[in-house]
């Protein structure tokens, strides 16, 4: 009986701890990138959700209030810049931290990325280790 009780406490502790972990919302339509990021985030005990288009992404930001949004620039429907613009215009969610995922040939758009209020960017293809470092830097 005490063994089960200890096990119960352990599980309870895990649940409570994971509840405090930062929530990352990934707005990205490439399933492979989503899986890679989720794998990395799970390894480091982050909570995560993903959406694969702009409108659903904005809804999720409003509903989930994530600690950080990882936002791809190229999205179906409307692009990442539009998602970012809408986030910044909505008083309730405008403080949300955003990290943009750009592609290599979009490096000229970096000024736009930062001027619109993104805190960080990663250009694809990216190093997973570097992604995690930048992510933690924003969260800290």
């Amino acid at each position: 009986m005490p063994v089960y009780f200890i096990y119960f406490l352990f599980l309870l502790n895990l649940t409570l701890m994971s509840g405090n972990n930062p929530l990352i919302l990934i707005i990205e339509d490439n399933p492979s990138v989503i899986r890679l990021l989720e794998f990395k985030l799970a390894k480091e005990n982050f909570r995560f959700e993903h959406r694969d288009n702009g409108p659903d992404g904005i809804e999720a930001v409003k509903k989930l209030r994530p600690d950080l949004v990882v936002l791809d620039v190229m999205l179906p429907g409307f692009d990442g810049f539009e998602v970012l613009r809408q986030i910044r215009q909505d008083a309730q969610i405008r403080e949300t931290r955003v990290m943009m995922l750009t592609s290599k040939n979009m490096e000229d758009d970096l000024e736009r990325v930062f001027s619109m209020g993104a805190m960080e960017f990663m250009s694809k293809p990216f190093k997973l280790g570097e992604f995690m470092i930048r992510l933690k830097r924003i969260l800290n």
Binding site: S32, V33, R35, L36, P125, F126, K127, L128, G129
Partner: protein
Amino acid sequence: MSTFLVLTAVILRKKHERDEAYRLRKKEELYPLVLNYLDLDPSNRKEVEKAESDIIKRLKTARDLEVLEDLALEIIYNIAGAEKLKLRQLLLIQPLYTQRYRQLKSWRIENLIQGCLYFVNVINQRSNVLEQIFPLLENRSVLVLHTAASAIFAYDEVATRGRALKKVCMRSGISEMALLELVYKFHNKEFDQMDEEVAELKSIISDRSVPNVNRSVIIKSVADIGYATMADYLHDMITGMQQTDNGIIATSLIHAMGRFEYADAAGLLAEKYSDSPDVTIRETLADTLGKLGNTESIPVLIGMTSDADFGVRVRAVYALAALGEPGYEALRGMEGTEDEIQRIASSIIAQLETGKQKED
């Protein structure tokens, strides 16, 4: 008969759906294993070997190998650095490597292409693979030639890549686009080897046994890629050329000077080619003089606005417009030229003045 056709279509569709479902299941089965492999420390050989063996255990058919390869490539395209190298290493696992190597010896085009595509993405390529791939550069199928060359261009040895590019260039009938793309692949950005690559490219450009049409593509692509150290070499080539030499080479050399923005070449080009009998050369010259931005070219360009060929005249007008204020002055002063050219010049001047007014 129609019942038979409908039945066949239904059976084929079912088979295809089953195949897709199987691939999806296999992919889901392999995904966590591959991600786990990606996360391992490569120096821990024991763990890496165990992870590899876990993956191999799940590869029972040729279809499974395809799923693993597709899955690894899907991830490779999205990541960089050490993790990418790790996955390229994973692609070398024995059953997959053996299968793809065997395909290089096949007589079927699709097998050859699949085999070559695999070797584009793996690392630590071996000499026996090169021995198999090199002869494919002579294959009748341009697709096989293209994938074989791409596989060789993944090698880090510039001399090997250069040998392959030369072999490709010796062939006639390759489209300009295909060759251009291959030169881009020859310039393997993963390795910082521009100087060695330049040496190989020079050897192809200077080799008169290479068909002129292919030499001209190499010259163009050298400029498009931006091998800056080639600019002087190409300039010297122009100096040494006679007007009677091959027009296609001259055209690409003039184009290259424009791409390199080699302003000092303007005088030499104008002197050599402004009265060339070849229309394409004169057109390219007009474009290039505009790009070079050297105002000393204005008299030559003004002369070209009354060229016998309409295309040359139009390009000369646009080139003058590209030279800034002194060029606009020349355009304003254009009197007595034919109506169409006058109209284009006036339209450019009008656009420039509207632009200026907006700026003010």
